[in-house]
Symmetry: C2
């Protein structure tokens, strides 16, 4: 009988298939799950007419304990940190919802190629959460694990993660890990592992290739196109989930991806602006100030919301402003003006920053008079920083710097590629 990881040829009543056996659902004992050469998974109903020929027995994955994964000399040592999300899930056939969690071993068994690319030195599972249930406590946990692994021999780290807030975590790791000298790949799936369109396998394979690369940056490794053509490696501070469901939902914003990565290991560098791999220690600064808010401005928004945050002793806020960095300043109905409430917040010591609601592009406080007035009142204009990245950076900065003028200076310093002085024309809607 064929077992997980074996290469097989299957002859069923009408068609022939060739692929690798992957784990089947417990509910479907008579179905053989195959990962085809195309990267797609299929389930083949097995009956008395089905012939299965094992054409290559797989011996890479022996048993659950991580230390038992095969170690091939010459391959880099990579730690996998599994945090939950679709990439580690399958459908619960009772309810139809995706939430049956797999063990990391099961996940790896789904992607047997992994062990041919890197030595999976260690598998960690600090928690298992849907990414919308995560917050700064989880970012801290991941950052601390990554630091420990890198400083004890790992040549790279793969973090598997739910996709909903994967880009927030990308920013968090970028800011929390200092003097980064190895590649960190954050990878998710938009389809669960038991679906034919499972994208996590290719994403994981490309993440493993990324960990062998020279790019010592936190990058999000996800499909670049709807098909299984190649992945992007996108800077953790310049990525955004731009579609609810597409496999190529993650896009670089105001930046080009570091690279395109193919399943076969080919890496095409697109953006040379990265730190290179070194043999130096990494440090972690994982504290986070949680008393901060991300607020989206909208026409008619009552400025009293700012008073609420001041009253609740918030230390900082990122306001998603319109256009080049505007909110109502001179409306006909004076009660709608945000200028007074913003001045009050600043007077109370709140760090008020603007980031672009348009997502793409750069703020500029010097073109229109409304923005000049806001800028003069002390609003910090964050250039081309993504609102989500700005939120994470603000929590990071305020955890370490209580002096507001110093914190403002840090917000405008380019810490982890979050500010791009020169945005390529090509990067719009890339």
């Amino acid at each position: 009988m064929a077992k997980v990881g074996d290469r097989v040829k299957v002859q069923s009543s009408d068609t022939n298939y060739e692929g690798t056996v992957i784990p089947s659902s417990d509910k479907q004992k008579d179905v053989l799950m195959l990962k085809l050469n195309s990267g797609y998974n299929i389930g083949i109903k097995i009956d008395k007419n089905t012939k299965i020929n094992i054409i290559g027995e797989f011996s890479g994955i022996k048993a659950s304990p991580p230390e038992k994964y095969s170690h091939k000399p010459g391959l880099p040592n990579v730690t996998l940190i599994a945090t939950g999300g679709t990439i580690g899930s399958k459908v619960d056939y009772k309810t139809g919802a995706v939430h049956m969690l797999m063990s990391p071993d099961e996940l790896i068994a789904n992607v047997p190629e992994l062990t041919e690319i890197v030595n999976l030195k260690k598998i960690l599972r600090p928690f298992s959460l849907a990414s919308e249930d995560m917050s700064s406590a989880e970012w801290q946990k991941i950052a601390e694990e990554v630091e420990k692994e890198l400083n004890s021999g790992a040549d790279g780290v793969i973090v598997t993660h739910g996709t909903d807030t994967l880009h927030y975590t990308g920013a968090a790791l970028s800011f929390m890990l200092k003097n980064l000298s190895k590649p960190i790949a954050i990878v998710g799936g938009q389809r669960s592992s038991d679906r034919g369109s499972f994208d996590g396998a290719m994403n994981l394979i490309c993440a493993a290739h990324y960990c062998k690369s020279n790019i010592a940056e936190v990058a999000i490794i996800m499909h670049a196109e709807p098909s299984d053509s190649y992945c992007f490696a996108i800077r953790g501070t310049k990525a955004r989930k731009m579609h609810t469901s597409r496999r190529d939902a993650f896009r670089p914003i105001n930046d080009l991806p570091f690279a395109k990565i193919w399943k076969d290991g080919r890496i095409e560098i697109i953006n040379k602006n990265f730190r290179e791999r070194k043999d130096t220690k990494v440090s972690v600064e994982s504290r986070f100030e949680n008393k901060i808010a991300l607020i989206k401005y909208f026409p008619g928004a009552d400025p009293a919301i700012l008073d609420y945050f001041v009253k609740e002793k918030y230390k900082g806020m990122i306001i998603e402003a319109t256009g080049l960095g505007h909110v109502a300043v001179q409306p006909l109905n004076k009660k709608n003006s945000w200028l007074g409430a913003i001045k009050n917040a600043i007077a109370k010591g709140v760090l008020v920053c603007f980031a672009p609601q348009t997502i793409y592009g750069r703020l500029d406080p010097f073109v229109y008079s409304n923005a000049r007035m806001l800028h003069d009142a002390g609003v910090l204009y964050l250039g081309d920083m993504l609102p989500e990245t700005a939120y994470v950076k603000l929590g990071h900065v305020l955890a370490y710097e209580k002096h507001i003028e110093q914190a403002k200076k840090m917000m405008l310093e380019n810490m982890a590629g979050e500010i791009n002085e020169k945005i390529s024309e090509e990067s719009f809607l890339y």
Copy 2:
């Protein structure tokens, strides 16, 4: 001496130019502003060596009162409603900021071709505001003016508008104008009229062409590409400003544009899903419920913000949820869960809706268990509706329907193309 609107050939010390004279800044008396055939504006310093030959005298624009604009038989009657914004502004050379407002006449003088395409039957200027200073009161005013004009002989209406919140106004007019039977073009500029890269001229020309078309919809008419190639006509409920400064910042979301429109009047229909021009009356429903909020979820967001809105007697809220429609439901730190606060808001009669934070794509409450729990709690999932459009629709619906179940039904009814049952693959990052 050449006057505004004249076609001239200019011979200066080094180069020759041919174009149309447009108004110059009062501060630069010795500069002749020319719109070149390429669409770009230039300022030519006039000295004793400059020769100006008038090759075509312009007689279209006679004087300020609108009734005096030339009327050419056979051209449709179009009303222009000027509301402010960059398209009606030029740089104040004293401060360097853009805020010197032009009269609508001056605006039209900058675009003399307009009067060759349509009869500008009437020019209205209900107010003059930067669009970030507008809110529902201004949307109501514009909608009411549009209705009056359409029901008294206008074949179409052009609304000039600041770009920051132009898409919110696009949605507002789409919902407020009922039984629309004529084209409504909303048009802005990303560069002021005295800059060489002024885009408002081409946008206005294409808007005039749109008003001659058969498309009886509210559309945003803006550059489709950075160059002066052609404009898009984008559905008012499916448009978003996606860049702080590019001339092609407005993009269709989850939809294809109605059409591409060229300066020469060529119109290529891309999306046939529109109402056609008819000779029927239009009605207006311009009431708006202002006690609503647009709230962006972010990791670690304190659910107490929802309690604040409930306490302040808000009637409804649009929450920008992550991925397919999620917020924290089962976080490790129970205090971060939004489920309780959402249930409480719903119990207090607040209409709680989710729209996609990813911008592109469609929500689906039936894939993951967190969303199922939120859906079961009574959260209304708004499919592929843009958060900004959803906000405007909620204010419109709650102004007319106090019964919450009925209001929920209306939110899910496709009123003005805001819900797209079938999204073309091509439309992602279009």
